[in-house]
């Protein structure tokens, strides 16, 4: 039970990682009633890695893409998903 985390651009640079596997077993579930893991749960777990992670993952405009689609933090994460975190896009 794991997901792939991808980081891009300034976030990748700040955290020094571009891609890693995250075990879902260690992530606290959303609450006692619901046993789902959300993007918010993942962010909370990663933020606990230290102040750098906390600051980088809690910047106001962070974008979350689950399996290549932009989602809100309440999106539910499942085994095998790919969750990408990055700053606002600046292509074109």
């Amino acid at each position: 039970m794991s997901i792939t985390i991808k980081l891009f651009a300034s976030l990748r640079e700040a955290l020094g990682e571009s891609e890693f596997q995250l075990e879902l077993g260690a992530i606290p579930v959303e609450n006692e009633v619901s046993s789902v893991i959300t993007v918010a749960s993942i962010k909370a777990a990663l933020s606990a890695r230290g102040s750098q992670w906390h600051d980088a993952l809690n910047q106001p405009n962070l974008v979350h893409a689950l399996n290549h689609k932009v989602v809100y933090v309440d999106a539910i994460v499942a085994d095998g998903d790919e969750l990408a975190l990055f700053p606002p896009m600046t292509g074109g």
Binding site: A9, S10, R12, A65, V70, P87, M89, T90, G91, G92
Partner: protein, 154 residues
């Protein structure tokens, strides 16, 4: 193929010819973006474009499809580069062919505005004082919103 992600410079002549083909529609609009030589007062040495390949491809395919349906396009194409891009080289090319000029031109503009805020690319400029990530532009968000609002209206 309606979308191409590539490191090599965009061949605007070939892209145009491929879009128009043997039987052109009545209206063809194109947009080409080039690497700026200045950002404000700072000269730019080169641009690095980081991207998220799988998501970039699917986002561009989807926004092109949506523009095609919305504006009744006969054909369309989006080309975006990534990697290190020298100043004055091409970054992005979009083309739209339709029966009427308004549709072709609006589709180009809509594709560009949507691509700017929705497609996972990030620019880093190499300047005299090192490299810096280009900040996203509020104006781009407003331009993107326009298309959402007018879509809801129709």
């Amino acid at each position: 193929m309606t979308v191409s992600l590539q490191t090599e410079p965009i061949d605007v002549v070939a892209e145009y010819a491929a879009l128009v083909g043997e039987a052109p529609g009545a209206a063809v609009a194109t947009f080409t973006g080039y690497v700026r030589n200045y950002t404000g007062e700072d000269p730019v040495g080169a641009l690095e474009l980081e991207h998220y390949p799988e998501m970039a491809l699917s986002v561009l395919e989807e926004l092109g499809q949506q523009a095609a349906e919305r504006f009744g396009l006969l054909r369309w194409r989006i080309v975006h580069r990534f990697g290190v891009l020298p100043v004055s080289e091409t970054i992005v090319w979009v083309g739209a062919m339709a029966d009427h000029r308004g549709e072709a031109i609006s589709a180009c503009e809509c594709m560009m505005d949507t691509l700017k805020t929705d497609a996972p690319f990030w620019k880093r400029e190499q300047g005299p004082s090192g490299a810096r990530w280009v900040a996203s532009c509020e104006h781009d968000g407003q331009r993107r919103e326009r298309w959402k609002r007018s879509e809801e209206r129709t």
